[in-house]
Symmetry: C2
Subunit: 281 residues, 2 copies
Amino acid sequence: MDSGLGGLTVARAIRSRLPAENIVYFGDTARLPYGSKTAATVTGFVREIVGYLLPLNPKHVVVACNTATALALSAVRADFPGVSISGVIEPGALAATALTEHLPDPVFGVLATEGTVASGAYEKILMRGRPGATVVQQPAPLLVPIIEEGRDGSDPIVKLALRQYLMPLLARRPDVIVLGCTHYPILRDEIERIAGPDVAIVDAAGPCAEDIAGKLGASGQLRQGGEGWIRYFVTDKVPRFARMASAFLGTDIGRPVWVAPEELHATHPSEAIDRDMSRVG
Amino acid sequence: MDSGLGGLTVARAIRSRLPAENIVYFGDTARLPYGSKTAATVTGFVREIVGYLLPLNPKHVVVACNTATALALSAVRADFPGVSISGVIEPGALAATALTEHLPDPVFGVLATEGTVASGAYEKILMRGRPGATVVQQPAPLLVPIIEEGRDGSDPIVKLALRQYLMPLLARRPDVIVLGCTHYPILRDEIERIAGPDVAIVDAAGPCAEDIAGKLGASGQLRQGGEGWIRYFVTDKVPRFARMASAFLGTDIGRPVWVAPEELHATHPSEAIDRDMSRVG
């Protein structure tokens, strides 16, 4: 689950690492973005969505949104104690610390939403792994709207916004910059260009998929052989979602199933699929 | 009601035109922005909010958001036939046509959200008033996030975004540019600077307040004397709202009452006020 498109970077990594698994992707397009909203609001949204997905009996649920991970993961884990749920912050932070093992006192930059920065979630895990490290955080509230609008790295507003957000981080000469929002890898090329060759850029998608592969393997739940499918649910039927998701994943994703926020409590996902199939347009 | 801060431009105009009236301002900060969402989603949100406000017996309800007016006003009027409800598009469009009465074939520019542009709502009213007119619309999806982030006209990203959005309008040599989103007047100075002295800039706030004064006067409901109060409700308790609203209105608005989206069906506004009073923090 994600607020919108960002979690697709994680879905793509899971698809590539675990091609036999079936994936249900849930984008909360009616209520996005999450990044500037409070823990109470984001936790309410994530709780509804995880509860909605449970009748599908997922082997694992990934909160593929850094803001939701930072603000809601522990609360939602407590709400659903029998369900395997992971987030994107720990895998990304551990990948970042692993990259700096050879350095005495690494400097980490974290580019994230306001909610993720304010939570201090990255700082906590990075400092636990590398107690001598320096962690510099930078909130970047405009990047999600910019990406959801479909602007790419060649757009002058994208270049200017990235420069505004990255310069304070780069001034501290970081060894690694963590892309602390699942949307940001969509602008990764431009971020790498601005950061230059001496800064490693880490995002959570690959490490998160690896983490899930490990969890499913350890519990003997990996699906053997066959090709898994991926199905999409959205809370608002914005035409942009299918267009941008298809472009990003390099394959036509078809029409996502639409389930309005007020239906999340009342509708079974299979009913929503059936109903959507019979809808025109 | 508005998705967030934008409707404050209308609230300020109502306050100034009708200082004796009491105002309840509702900002849907948990689910903003509305501008890139569909009619079904926005109508669902507006219906919930208007239904929530009804126990307060409002003399009049203003949908102080252009996207909500364009996508939801007629549906919500039909849902609540006994309630006086108006929007911001008609007053703004009529003010624009009035300005061009002396011109043979006026050119109107409309700067608005994607939802408002796609609805064609401005075009319809402008062309009805001036059948010989040319209407050029420009969607500006980044402006609301930029304004909600608190950036002002001096910020280089604001200047660049305004230039990107205004240049295609200015190339058509408009007589009037309508600010078709209640957020945009917050950047009015910079918009006027870019547009130059030959283009009139119109926003809906003043005309909308005038329209309400006319309606209340005609039905004999104007409050005589005394000083009205204004009270704020929000769906997410974001600290930014009170800070930015206080700055914009030039007075400390205190702490808005928080009512989460899932409580809109179940809580009476007076209960929310009482509960909020007893909450800490």
